[in-house]
């Protein structure tokens, strides 16, 4: 019985997490030329790998900056820090394409608004900024996601640190700065390193920013290169799969190292005793810090959004003095596009569907792995983790091949259901992991007490476990919903005209050079995400709410 149940669960998880990966690996060897071309000939492939690593190498810097910002936000009573933190959450949740579009309107060379303003100054010649460059891509990534993510990720580690470690340092005679340097930083270093490795892995699979800013300058990274190969006429599947296999191998090695590292070091720092950390008194200094933080939030979050909005309604972006500077043309382009309304519906189905399916599946898997004695649990656990190091574009290629080349799955081609599955699978590692922490926190006695009181397994699960896991269930639901709305790289290759979500519609506009209509769609996706985030906050999800 235990073996049968365990085997069933294992097969179910393997079907969605392992098979797309296997299809890619096997597929890469079907055409022997693919590997030869990848390893020996293709200069573009090698250049793409090089750029991927170069861009991903921002992660340690982002982790360090993020840690400093998080530490200041938590330990100094900065006026308005709730707002600052909320804006960082917004930055984290906002889809990358609209933010990138905002920066393009501002920093494009030579037509970007800032460039033209600067060119008007007497002593400046030619465009100063070029967002379509290595520096531009790094800038957008750092401000739009990397740093905010690190602040959000490292905040809990700082909050959970036992205050007595720092207090002991002070009693021994160290000042605030010395305590930070000699106690806080070394204690939290494992968390920072963990964040850096995580950022590196996520950086290797980045797609949207590089697609919008890099491709026209021939700056390809792994995922944009794969996207180009698939869009070739005819599609170069084998090469895309060979390159994916290579990247997957590398990611797997890093990810396993990461697991080992977090397993060995992870437990050391978190010893929360419930004692709250002392805040650092900083008199006037905190107003200076607040000013800096507001400036940062203003520049990195509010400015690109503002220019995105402005861009959607100007005839010629940045030209205020022409006869009719403002227009509704871009809005009507989008609103009249027959695929627009279906796209909204698809996005909602995608976000909510993946969240509903995911929350249920993650809860079952996590509970089975943590609390039951069914067979194959370690293997099931590993397979649930596997998509963690599978780039979205790779998962997309794998799913697409599965659907195209498995006879009984072909009817699903072009169906939104495939996209729903893909998002649920992409979020599987995060979801199961979060659920596991929630299940572990439910003391077994709480279940046992219910059993002894006369309730069976099912009633116990419904009345004791589910209510206790409710906050986590809601959190995961929200995160998966937002992932479904934001995601581009996973669903890009799977989306067909009938199953087109907003995110892919937006990318298609942008790829065709229609930046303003893309920005209009970007406004809609951003609003959706922000609405979900605010709703989640009302449900008590910890967003932008220190302590």
């Amino acid at each position: 019985m235990r073996l049968a149940l365990g085997g069933f669960l294992l097969l179910a998880v393997a079907a969605v997490s392992l098979s797309p990966v296997m299809v890619v690996i096997v597929g890469s060897f079907e055409d022997s030329g693919a590997w030869r071309s990848l390893l020996l000939e293709s200069g573009q492939a090698r250049s793409a790998l090089g750029y991927s690593v170069l861009f991903a190498a921002r992660a340690p810097f982002a982790a360090l900056i993020g840690f400093l910002l998080a530490w200041l936000l938590i330990r100094v009573r900065i006026p308005g820090r709730e707002f600052i933190e909320f804006m960082l959450w917004i930055a984290f949740f906002l889809p990358l394409i609209p933010v990138t579009l905002g920066w393009m309107l501002l920093l494009d060379s030579p037509t970007g608004l800032l460039n033209r303003w600067l060119a008007a100054l007497p002593f400046i010649d030619g465009p100063v900024f070029d967002v379509s460059s290595v520096a531009g891509i790094l800038w957008v990534h750092m401000t739009a996601s990397s740093v905010p993510v690190m602040v959000i990720l490292l905040g809990p580690a700082i909050r959970q640190m036992d205050a007595s470690f720092e207090e002991a340092g002070r009693v021994c005679g160290s000042g605030t700065f010395e305590v930070f340097r000699r106690i806080t930083l070394p204690l939290l270093l494992p968390a920072i390193v963990t964040g850096a490795i995580l950022g590196f892995i996520r950086g290797l699979e980045a797609f949207e920013v590089e697609q919008l800013l890099g491709v026209k300058e021939k700056i390809y990274v792994y995922s944009t290169h794969v996207y180009a190969l698939i869009n070739w006429e005819p599609p170069r599947f084998s090469e895309a799969m060979a390159m994916s296999t290579l990247v997957l191998g590398g990611l797997l090695v890093i990810a396993l190292f990461y697991q080992r590292y977090t397993f060995e070091r992870g437990h050391a720092t978190v010893t929360g005793s419930g004692m709250s950390l002392r805040e650092i008194p900083l008199g006037r200094g905190r107003w200076v810090l607040a000013g800096l933080f507001f400036a940062m939030v203003f520049v990195t979050v509010i400015v690109p959004i503002a220019f995105l909005l402005l861009g959607t309604s100007m005839t010629l972006f940045g030209f205020f003095h022409i006869p009719e500077p403002f227009t509704t043309e871009h809005w009507s382009t989008v609103l009249d596009d027959p695929s627009f309304v279906p796209s909204i519906v698809n996005t909602l189905i995608l976000g909510l569907g993946a969240a509903a399916l995911g929350v249920f599946a993650y809860a079952v898997i996590a509970y089975a792995v943590v609390r039951t004695r069914i067979g194959f649990r370690p293997l099931t656990n590993f397979l649930a983790w596997l998509p963690w190091c599978v780039p979205g574009i790779l998962l997309g290629v794998g799913m697409l091949s599965l659907v195209l080349f498995t006879p009984f799955l072909t009817p699903l081609y072009g169906s939104i259901f495939v996209l729903v599955i893909a998002i649920a699978v992409a979020q599987l590692p995060l979801g199961v992991n979060m659920m596991k922490t929630s299940v572990v926190q439910i003391a077994p006695e709480l279940e046992h007490a219910s059993r002894v009181c006369g309730a069976g397994w099912w009633r116990t699960f419904l009345r004791i476990d589910i209510p206790l896991m409710k906050p986590m269930l809601i959190s995961i639901f929200v995160l998966v919903t937002i992932a479904g709305i934001r995601d581009v790289s996973t669903v890009l290759l799977l989306a067909q005209p009938s199953s087109l979500p907003l995110s892919v519609l937006m990318l298609e506009y942008a790829n065709n050079g229609d930046v303003e209509p893309a920005a209009v769609v970007g406004v809609f996706t951003s609003i959706l995400v922000i609405v979900v985030a605010i709703a989640a906050r009302r449900f008590g999800l910890q967003i932008g709410n220190p302590r």
Binding site: R451, C453, A455
Partner: protein, 363 residues
């Protein structure tokens, strides 16, 4: 115990075995518990007492042996019978209380009744009644996260009793409370037990608690029962050296049995127990004496007493008494004496006991 048929007892445990991999947690335990009895399982941590309790509750499945509750077999490894916990009608108070944090006091206590589909008025009446009994009447609407340790304990007790289970199982229920509160809770448990005639199996490592509370005690070691008996039996007539040294305080002296069964203690030239050790002739023995049987060489001391020589290692002032640590024959033990009996640390002391008060065990 020995004279009872299985049918008379509330709980009958036979030859229970539980293994975890290679480790044997419970190794062939058997006992019976009678109606309205408080029966304690006493032993060090890891002796298998909690595992035994969990098997009775149905939370663990025995590898061998059987359990009967009110004459019905609920576990029988040989016949493959294992009634799940929810169908046993037992009450269990956990060491950690296991109060559900997402429910109020009322919801926690009402839970077993809602599971049993009682009607709402009945549930309300009974929950309020039992909460009153355990002293939580004023707190029924509190969220359970706002309770102190002692209050959680009371809620756990109320929840375990509200549905009048056939038997109430308590797993070290007071071990997380401070000494004063523990005393208070123990008294309350006794009162509640007397009022409802509850049958209780009580797991504890605290021998004082077991002695004070129980009608009968099973002393356990390494997964097996060493002795079952009333507290007076266990204390006054221990079955072996382990039981005597575990239950109550004891002074252990080394001795040699000579001819005619005379026991010569190493604790002094006059320390001889005449003819006491015939069955251990020629062998080394351990002689045990309870501290309360020790007296000082005063005129009132009996003439045929056994005298041992010791040294005061330390003393501490206790108000109406003085606590001494006495070193005898290389071992130390505590001795509480009248505040007027003054000995300086380091000074020699002579202590006596009646030969009948001593027990002999093989070394």
């Amino acid at each position: 115990m020995s004279g009872n048929r299985a049918g008379d007892s509330v709980l009958c445990v036979r030859d229970l075995v539980k293994r975890y991999g290679d480790a044997v947690a419970v190794d062939g335990i058997g006992f019976e518990v009678q109606e309205a009895e408080i029966f304690s399982l006493l032993g060090h941590s890891g002796c298998g007492k909690s595992t035994t309790l969990r098997m009775v509750a149905g939370l663990e499945e025995p590898d061998a042996g059987s359990i009967e509750l009110r004459g019905a077999t609920v576990s029988d490894a040989a016949r493959g019978i294992h009634v799940p916990a929810e169908s046993r009608n037992v009450g269990l108070v956990f060491q950690s209380y296991a109060i559900w944090p997402h429910m109020t006091v009322f919801d926690n206590v009402a839970y077993p009744l809602t599971v049993r589909r009682r009607d709402r008025a009945d549930i309300r009446r009974r929950v309020l009644e039992i909460c009153e009994v355990v002293g939580m009447g004023a707190f029924v609407d509190r969220p359970s996260t706002a309770l102190s340790g002692g209050q959680q304990q009371r809620v756990a007790l109320a929840r375990a009793m509200v549905y009048e289970p056939d038997i109430l199982l308590l797993d070290e229920p007071f071990s997380n409370l401070d000494a004063k509160l523990r005393e208070e809770m123990r008294l309350q448990l006794q009162q509640v037990q007397a009022r409802f005639n509850t049958t209780i199996v009580y797991v504890t490592h605290d021998q004082t608690e077991a002695l004070a509370l129980s009608h009968r005690i099973a002393v356990m070691r390494d997964g097996a029962v060493e002795q079952i008996g009333a507290p007076e039996d266990i204390y006054g007539n221990p079955a072996n050296f382990f039981v005597q040294s575990f239950v109550g305080r004891v002074i252990v002296l080394r001795g040699e049995v000579g001819e005619a069964g005379n026991v010569h203690l190493q604790a002094g030239p006059e320390a001889v127990l005449p003819g006491a050790g015939k069955e251990f002739s020629g062998r080394a023995v351990r002689v045990t004496v309870r501290p309360e049987d020790i007296f000082l060489p005063e005129p009132s001391a009996p003439g045929d007493a056994v005298w041992i020589e010791g040294r005061i290692a330390a003393r501490s002032y206790g108000g109406d008494h003085m606590d001494y640590t006495v070193a005898v024959d290389g071992a130390e033990f505590g001795l509480r004496l009248d505040k007027n009996a003054l000995f300086a640390p380091g000074s020699a002391i002579r202590l006596g006991f009646a030969a009948e008060a001593a027990r002999l065990w093989p070394a």
